[in-house]
């Protein structure tokens, strides 16, 4: 008894904790292995889910899932750990101030499929639009390729989009065209430097510390600049991407562009 470490109550708690841990582990294992519901990734069901969403959920979660009174649904980290079953249960039964939807089973799963589609890699989702027309627009004079690259061609002023279909989602692709400041890709602040030797240097800031700036010049050249050689720095924080594409481009243009961009990284 002298060496007894745990009381009976503690042991009981540990037992319960162990059971919970086992259940959680089992659930995790089940999640990993569970077959997806057949509606997941199905474009017709996703579209049906979108209509349900606009009718009942968009008021709190935003028309494109970006959040409002309710949390954003396009940020994967916010709810990613939830299983499809958990999500279905939350929709149907509600949680906190979110009311229960009490939808017929299929409509509930359509909604789950739509919400899942908001964070799926764009390349895995079907999207409306004419990708060929989007490609033409991307590479046209004064088009996107003046600043962005795909497959080793294009400009350096904006993010390389060669793999964007894998790293972004359909909602984010669309939003980044019409609202470039909503989510800035690091490494695209513009810096105008005056160096102590009197020369000027401009480029995009790939990295910035108190001791060194890593610039990418217009031709793609990288230039690592020690801070002690800099006289002044002017930083342009907002995205240098024009913010007026929402009015410059038609709705079809944007849809076509998204359709083209979602294919990048599909190989």
């Amino acid at each position: 008894m002298r060496y007894r470490i745990f009381s009976t109550v503690q042991l009981h708690k540990i037992f319960l904790l162990s059971c919970s841990a086992t259940l959680l582990w089992a659930q995790h294992a089940k999640d990993d292995e569970a077959a997806k519901h057949p509606f997941m990734g199905n474009p017709d069901r996703i579209e049906a889910g979108r209509k349900t969403y606009l009718g009942g959920c968009a008021g709190c979660h935003g028309p494109e899932g970006g959040g409002g009174r309710g949390p954003s649904l396009i940020e994967r980290g916010a709810w990613h750990p939830m299983t499809d079953d958990n999500l279905y249960g939350t929709i149907q039964k509600g949680v906190g101030i979110m009311p229960a939807a009490n939808l017929p089973t299929d409509r509930g799963w359509e909604l789950v499929a739509f919400v899942r589609s908001l964070t799926a890699p764009a390349v895995e989702m079907k999207a409306p639009g004419d990708a060929t027309a989007g490609e033409k627009l991307f590479w046209s004079t004064n088009g996107c390729s003046g600043c962005h690259r795909i497959g080793g061609k294009g400009g350096f002023a904006g993010p390389d989009l060669s793999n964007i279909g894998r790293t972004s989602t359909l909602p984010k692709l669309r939003r980044s065209i019409v609202d470039p400041d909503f989510e800035r890709t690091p490494g695209f602040e513009r810096a105008d430097l005056t160096l102590r030797d009197g020369s000027k240097l401009s480029g995009l800031v790939k990295d910035r510390t108190n001791y060194r700036l890593q610039l990418q010049l217009k031709d793609g050249t990288l230039r690592s600049v020690p801070v002690e050689t800099i006289e002044t720095v002017e930083l342009t924080k907002p995205s240098i991407m024009p913010a007026d594409y929402k009015t410059k481009l038609t709705r079809d243009d944007i849809t076509n562009l998204v359709s083209y961009l979602r294919q990048q990284g599909a190989n």
């Binding site: 690259r149 080793g152 390389d160 510390t209 890593q214 010049l217």
Partner: protein, 534 residues
């Protein structure tokens, strides 16, 4: 004012010219453009800033903790002040002066996780392989994906880890997986498009020449190509070593030499056709892959100039071969604890000592399964005539199983490992490869767990890792300790040295991070420049 700006742009344009085949032939210089440093695999840098006299002033310059790293194997490549470093299914472009990330690419499609050994560079692209055998081409300025092309299927038992080799518009990639049953091969892919140009299997198909040296399981015979190769531009020849036959520790069902396992292959880089081969360990039962460097050198041998290859093999012998024909010239013992063969005969074939095969009960054999040396880099210095190589003096208990082999089921036909209280010891040894004379050795304390390589400079400094997690500098002529730094973990990778902005650096990864060192400079107070934010 304009003059400054214009001149800067011109300088920048020069510095960022595309990496050409000629640049690769000139490496290593200020850059370190291939996994081995240069095509010859000599592991000798021409940089002269760090010397035996000042090596004591080396200090850490930066550390990069590689995300999710567990046992880093990769050796960096460095071009124009940018370091490219790979981990499992990921590559990072770092400012080689500061270690700060410029871009990163994480392959989210890969369906397997395995170690990765490094990258290749050519033109404006940087290349690496995913564990599930896709060759990935990225824009080296942005990390943008140009393409990813499959050259192997994990369902066939292969996986991929080797650093690609860029040769005149082709990217050569190898395969791993020889311990579980697969058929090894090398593939050349077009550097611009990823189109497969040739594929050469290291194990013949049934009915092909060499297949008569096999019994059963030739279809899963192994012969992996998981280490990078070397290259002779003068003859357009690739030199690539092959892994063990499968099952590793039981050869009863594959009696014969098991060509072309445990061999060095000389291949025409244009076509992939074999020019010659040399098999170090015929019909191997001890998992003694030939994966160690085939170092290309031009030497005076028996009074005449001769193009040769040095090869320190896992089986315990150091070989000297004719580079043009593959003819065996000479061998010597790399290690003292070598008891499976009494020597090498005139044709280069080992003279086995009976009773040294693995047995069901276990049989103590030297060297152990990890071999006398392994993938760790070596350094050849023509000026001193010394080959510096890290060796392991260790014996293992080898067991065998005659159970019916099952490919892809983690079955190796047995196993091997040291007996309790019989751990080995690592040494850094300098050997004259023409005579076998051991000039000096640097013994290491530790648990015989590391896999660090060695890199030299023409000034006579050797950089290496030791078995306690230190990066060390040693005098190449005498083996005298010059400097050391504790990294806090085991080292399984090999060092590189390069120069940026007039300063020479040395880099090496331990299990989780890349460390970079340079000569001491007092840190000056850095003013914060006035910054306007629009």
């Amino acid at each position: 004012m304009h003059r400054f700006t214009l001149s800067f742009y011109l300088l920048a344009a020069t510095a960022w010219a595309q990496v050409t085949f000629e640049d690769l032939r000139q490496s290593p210089n200020q850059n370190w453009l291939t996994y081995a440093g240069g095509y010859s695999g000599q592991g000798l840098s021409p940089l002269t800033q760090i010397t035996p006299e000042n090596a004591q002033n080396l200090t850490p310059k930066w550390t990069f903790n590689v995300p999710k790293a567990k046992g880093l194997r990769a050796r960096p490549i460095v071009a124009d002040g940018v370091m490219y470093y790979t981990n499992t299914n990921a590559i990072y472009a770092l400012d080689a002066r500061s270690g700060r990330v410029i871009w990163r690419y994480v392959d989210t499609q890969a369906k397997k996780e395995a170690v990765n050994r490094g990258a290749a560079i050519f033109g404006n692209s940087v290349y690496f392989v995913t564990s599930d055998c896709f060759l990935v081409s990225l824009d080296r300025r942005t990390g943008g994906l140009a393409w990813r092309k499959q050259y192997g299927n994990i369902k066939d038992g292969v996986f991929c880890s080797s650093a690609p080799v860029a040769v005149n518009g082709k990217i050569i990639v190898g395969t791993a997986g020889g311990d579980e049953g697969m058929r090894g091969y090398l593939t050349a892919m077009d550097a611009a498009t990823g189109k497969e140009l040739w594929r050469t299997y290291t194990i013949p198909a049934r009915g092909e020449p060499g297949s008569e040296t096999w019994g059963n399981y030739i279809e899963y015979g192994g012969g992996a190509t998981w280490l990078s190769g070397t290259y002779d531009a003068a003859t357009n020849t690739l030199f690539w070593t092959t892994g063990n036959p499968w099952p590793d520790f039981y050869g009863g069902d594959r009696k014969g030499d098991n060509l072309y396992s445990c061999s060095l292959l000389a291949l025409d880089a244009e076509t992939g056709k074999m020019k010659w081969y040399f098999q170090f360990t015929p019909g191997d039962w001890h998992d003694w892959d030939a994966q160690s460097w085939p170092i290309l050198a031009d030497v005076q041998y028996e009074g005449k100039p001769r193009k040769v290859i040095f090869h320190a093999n896992r089986n315990g012998f150091l070989y000297l071969l004719d580079r043009e024909t593959g003819k065996y010239l000479k061998s010597s013992k790399l290690i003292d604890n070598l008891d499976w063969a009494s020597g090498i005969d005139a044709k280069g074939r080992p003279i086995p000592i009976p009773g040294k095969d693995p047995t069901p009960e276990g049989n103590r054999v030297c060297p152990g399964v990890r071999g006398a040396t392994n993938w760790m880099s070596q350094s050849w210095n023509p000026a001193t005539g010394l080959l510096s190589v890290v060796v392991l003096e260790q014996c293992d208990i080898f067991t065998s199983s005659s159970k019916t082999p099952e490919p892809g089921k983690n079955f190796a036909g047995g196993g091997a490992g040291p007996a309790p209280k019989d751990a080995g010891q690592f040494y850094l040894r300098a050997i004259n490869p023409l005579t076998g004379e051991r000039k000096w050795q640097y013994p290491m304390t530790g648990k015989a767990e590391m896999w660090a390589g060695v890199t030299g400079t023409v000034t006579g400094v050797l950089f290496a890792g030791d078995d306690d997690g230190h990066v060390i500098a040693v005098d190449a002529k005498s083996g005298k300790h010059l400097w050391h730094y504790q990294t806090g973990d085991n080292i399984y990778a090999s060092p590189v040295t390069f120069m940026v902005d007039g300063k020479q650096y040395v880099s090496i990864a331990n299990a989780t991070s890349v460390f970079t060192f340079g000569l001491f400079e007092p840190v000056k107070s850095v003013p914060v420049p006035p910054m306007k934010i629009k």
